[in-house]
C-alpha cells in the first residue's frame, strides 16, 4: 500500500516536472480524498468543541487596573521621600503589623533612612528576643538590638492562618515587587474598599469586597480610616495619606537601594553618553579623509589615427 502511495507521489512529481499526464489509480484517489475529509471534519469538530467554553477571565476576576499615581520617587532621578518612609513605618507599626510580618527588615536598616540610631535602638529594645541559654540550659530572653529583625505578629504560618480564618497575611518585605502594579496597586487596594459590595456580589463569610483584588473577594478588611494614626510631624492622617506613606515605606523595604541606584545611574548615563559621542567624533575624524577622497581614472589617450 505504501509503495502504491510512493509510486503515486513519484508519478505526481514527475507530472510536475515533465507535465506528463498523471496516472493515479482510482483507489489511491479515493484513499487520499477520504483522509483529507476525515482530517478536516476532525479539526472542525475540535474547533467547535473548543469554542463552546470561554477561557478568558472577566474584568472582575482580573481585578481592576490600578490608576497610575505620581509617586515622589517615580521619576528617573527622583529619590524616595524619606519623611514619607518615616510616617509609613509608623503606619506599618501601628496598623499593618497587627497581622503582617516584615521578616527581611532589621532595625539597623532603618538607621540613616527614616530613623536615627537612638530611635531605632529604643524601638528594638521594646521587643524581647531569644538569648543564649543559661548554665542550666534554660532559655533566656534579652531586649532587642539593632541587628535583630523586626518581629512578626505570629509564631508561624499555621498560627497566622488560624488567627485569620485560614487566610495567610503575606509578608510585606517584598510585597511591592511581588504584586502586579506595585505601588499603584497596593495604594489602590488600600484605599479602594467601597462601603458596600455591588449588588449581586456574593461573598464568602469572613471576606470583603475590593474591586482591585483579583476576584474581588479579599480576606483583609479595610484597615485605614482617617486619623487612626497620629503623625508626629503634624501631617493630617487621612486614609489616603496613610496609604501613600505606608506604600512608600513598603516600596523602600523591597527596594532599599533605589536612591543609590538612581544616583549611580545618572553618573553612568553621563559618562557613557560622553564616551559614545567621543567615539562618534573619533570615527568621523578617522574616516573623513577616506570617505571624502575622490578616485579619478584618467584613461590613457588613444593613439592618434593617422
Amino acid at each position: 500500500m505504501f509503495s502504491r502511495f510512493g509510486s503515486a507521489f513519484k508519478n505526481s512529481a514527475r507530472s510536475f516536472s515533465t507535465s506528463a499526464k498523471a496516472e493515479i489509480s482510482s483507489n489511491t484517489k479515493r484513499v487520499i480524498n477520504g483522509a483529507v475529509g476525515v482530517a478536516g471534519l476532525t479539526a472542525a469538530f475540535v474547533l467547535y468543541e473548543d469554542s463552546q467554553t470561554a477561557k478568558a477571565m472577566t474584568a472582575a476576576e482580573h481585578g481592576l487596573h490600578a490608576p497610575e499615581y505620581d509617586w515622589p520617587h517615580k521619576g528617573m532621578f527622583d529619590s524616595y521621600d524619606h519623611a514619607s518612609i518615616r510616617r509609613g513605618f509608623q503606619v506599618y507599626r501601628e496598623v499593618c503589623s497587627a497581622c503582617h510580618s516584615l521578616d527581611r527588615i532589621a532595625w539597623r536598616n532603618l538607621v540613616g533612612v527614616s530613623h536615627t540610631n537612638a530611635e531605632a535602638k529604643a524601638m528594638a529594645e521594646e521587643y524581647e528576643y531569644d538569648d543564649e541559654p543559661d548554665d542550666q540550659g534554660n532559655p533566656r530572653k534579652r531586649p532587642g538590638k539593632l541587628t535583630d529583625y523586626i518581629p512578626g505578629p505570629y509564631a508561624n504560618e499555621e498560627a497566622a492562618r488560624a488567627a485569620n480564618g485560614g487566610a495567610l497575611p503575606p509578608d510585606l518585605s517584598l510585597v511591592v515587587k511581588a504584586r502586579h502594579g506595585g505601588c499603584d496597586y497596593i495604594f489602590a487596594l488600600l484605599t479602594g474598599y467601597p462601603d458596600d459590595p455591588p449588588a449581586g456580589v456574593v461573598l464568602a463569610p469572613g471576606s470583603n469586597y475590593n474591586p482591585y483584588f483579583p476576584g474581588g473577594s479579599i480576606a483583609m478588611a479595610r484597615t485605614l480610616f482617617d486619623d487612626i494614626v497620629e503623625y508626629e510631624d503634624g501631617t493630617p492622617a487621612s486614609s489616603s495619606q496613610m496609604a501613600k506613606d505606608v506604600v512608600t515605606f513598603l516600596d523602600w523595604c523591597s527596594e532599599p537601594e533605589l536612591d543609590d541606584r538612581k544616583k549611580l545611574g545618572a553618573k553612568a548615563i553621563i559618562i557613557l553618553t560622553s564616551l559614545y559621542l567621543m567615539a562618534v567624533w573619533t570615527k568621523k575624524f578617522k574616516w573623513a579623509p577616506i570617505k571624502h577622497r575622490k578616485i579619478v581614472f584618467n584613461p590613457p589617450k588613444p593613439p592618434k589615427k593617422n
Binding site: S79, H82, A83, T116, D233, A266, K267, I270
Partner: protein
C-alpha cells in the same frame, strides 16, 4: 592654529607629560564629577532626603527646621 601648537607643546610632546595629564585628569575628574553629580542630586531631591528630614525630627537634629 597656535592653540593647537600650545596644546601639543604642553601636553603631547613628552610621553611622560602626556601620561601625567591622563592620570592627573582621571584623578581630579572622578572627584569633581562625583561631587558635582551628588550636589545636583541633593539639590534636585531637596527636602526628600534623610539628611533634610532628620532636621525636622524633634530631638534628633542639631536644629529644628520649621519646614
Amino acid at each position: 592654529m597656535s592653540f593647537y601648537h600650545t596644546v601639543f607643546n604642553t601636553v603631547f610632546k613628552r610621553n611622560s607629560v602626556f601620561l601625567t595629564t591622563i592620570f592627573a585628569g582621571a584623578f581630579v575628574f572622578q572627584a569633581v564629577f562625583d561631587e558635582g553629580v551628588n550636589k545636583w542630586w541633593e539639590a534636585r531631591n531637596k527636602g526628600k532626603l534623610w539628611k533634610d528630614v532628620k532636621l525636622t525630627i524633634p530631638g534628633a537634629g542639631e536644629e529644628e527646621d520649621d519646614e
